[in-house]
């Protein structure tokens, strides 16, 4: 195996392919970085959340009962805190200085950061159905001045809510499976490094 590798290395070293121009082009990072793209998606999501939170704060006065006010405050808290935590964890992963660490340290840092991101995303997954439940009466009051807790039950769009709720639960379960396997793989790396 080693002989084969050495033979291949000799062939590769003979194939001097890079030009000065090509090397400098690669240092310019004209391409869109994968991680920047992910960060951009998350940042766009955060902007939407903050706009919603501001809208709710401005209209908070319309929530005239203690339960609607509680729902409103919880909604604003979710919308403000979760995107902030997600962006912070992604930023930490992005900010790792690659040249400062050895291979083992880099593996540990990435596995730990990944676990944190996954934990946070899992938390978001659990909170989503709850958020959905509390945002409906808040929006109902803010847009239509209707207290859904007090109004006629037959007027409530139960079918829509039911279908959407089932979708959210199924989506959350699927997401949980994905996150679980990714978390396991990060944990395996950490376990193996400890051996």
């Amino acid at each position: 195996m080693k002989i084969l590798w050495e033979e291949m290395s000799v062939k590769v070293s003979k194939q001097q392919q890079l030009t000065d121009q090509l090397i400098m082009e690669m240092t310019q990072q004209k391409y869109s970085n994968k991680f920047s793209k992910l960060f951009m998606y998350e940042a766009s999501g955060a902007v939407v959340c903050y706009i919603m939170a501001i809208f709710m704060l401005v209209n908070m006065g319309k929530l005239d009962t203690w339960y609607l006010l509680t729902c409103g405050i919880l909604c604003v808290a979710f919308l403000a805190i979760l995107p902030f935590l997600t962006l912070r964890s992604l930023n930490r992963m992005k900010g790792l200085q690659i040249a400062n660490y050895n291979y083992k340290e880099t593996l540990v840092r990435f596995a730990k950061s990944k676990k944190k991101v996954l934990l946070l995303q899992r938390l978001v997954l659990y909170i989503s159905p709850l958020f959905f439940l509390i945002v409906i009466p808040v929006m109902g009051k803010m847009f239509n001045n209707k207290d859904l807790f007090q109004s006629d039950a037959s007027a409530f769009p139960w079918v829509f809510v039911g279908v959407f709720f089932v979708f959210i639960i199924l989506f959350s379960r699927w997401g949980y499976g994905c996150y679980q396997s990714m978390t396991n793989s990060a944990e395996n790396v950490l376990k193996e490094l400890d051996e």
Binding site: M1, Q15, E25, A99
Partner: protein, 173 residues
């Protein structure tokens, strides 16, 4: 101007290292291009911080391997725009068996197949094992592998023995 020329020279002298690392860590050809570019970019970014306390190749292996880990932890990029012309990678892949080119038939189909198989077996290993076996195959002594990876010299030896056994078993199967 001098750092730029030094950097270009360093990359040219060690382009084989980057190529072999990208081939071990990348999932496919497109991914290999992305990783190659990312490694060169990271090397350039940290070139100023290289103080010459270690060999330039040790520093290169460290940055390139760490970049590969970071690369694997990022989401698959969709519709990326690679600015550079990566034809050279195809030539290297052809010369070492990854893709077949008629003019390179002289290299020998058997040899190319063996190289493909060698990479295939290495790619089956986990991240820790990949890094260690790559450095071992590159002929690095245990103390240099320890310096690059952060494992102790004795741990490098133990892990490499286990990896060799694992590879042997995989090849026999």
């Amino acid at each position: 101007m001098q750092p730029k020329q030094d950097f270009i020279q360093t990359i040219k002298e060690n382009e084989g290292i980057i190529y072999k690392i990208t081939r071990v860590y990348a999932k496919d050809r497109e991914d290999q291009r992305d990783l190659y570019q990312e490694i060169v970019y990271q090397l350039w970014k940290s070139f100023d911080t290289f103080k010459g306390q270690s060999k330039i190749s040790t520093w290169m292996y460290r940055v390139a391997l760490n970049t590969s880990i970071a690369h694997l932890n990022r989401e698959k990029r969709k519709g990326q725009m690679v600015s550079a012309d990566f034809e050279f990678l195809d030539h290297l892949n052809a010369a070492t068996g990854k893709i077949q080119e008629p003019e390179l038939e002289a290299v020998g189909a058997d040899w190319q197949a063996q190289i493909d198989l060698l990479y295939a077996h290495i790619q089956q290993l986990n991240l820790i094992e990949k890094g260690l076996i790559l450095l071992f195959l590159e002929g690095k002594p245990y103390d240099e592998i320890a310096a690059i990876t952060g494992f102790s010299v004795s741990n490098v030896g133990t892990r490499l023995s286990r990896i060799k056994l694992k590879l042997k078993k995989n090849i026999q199967n």
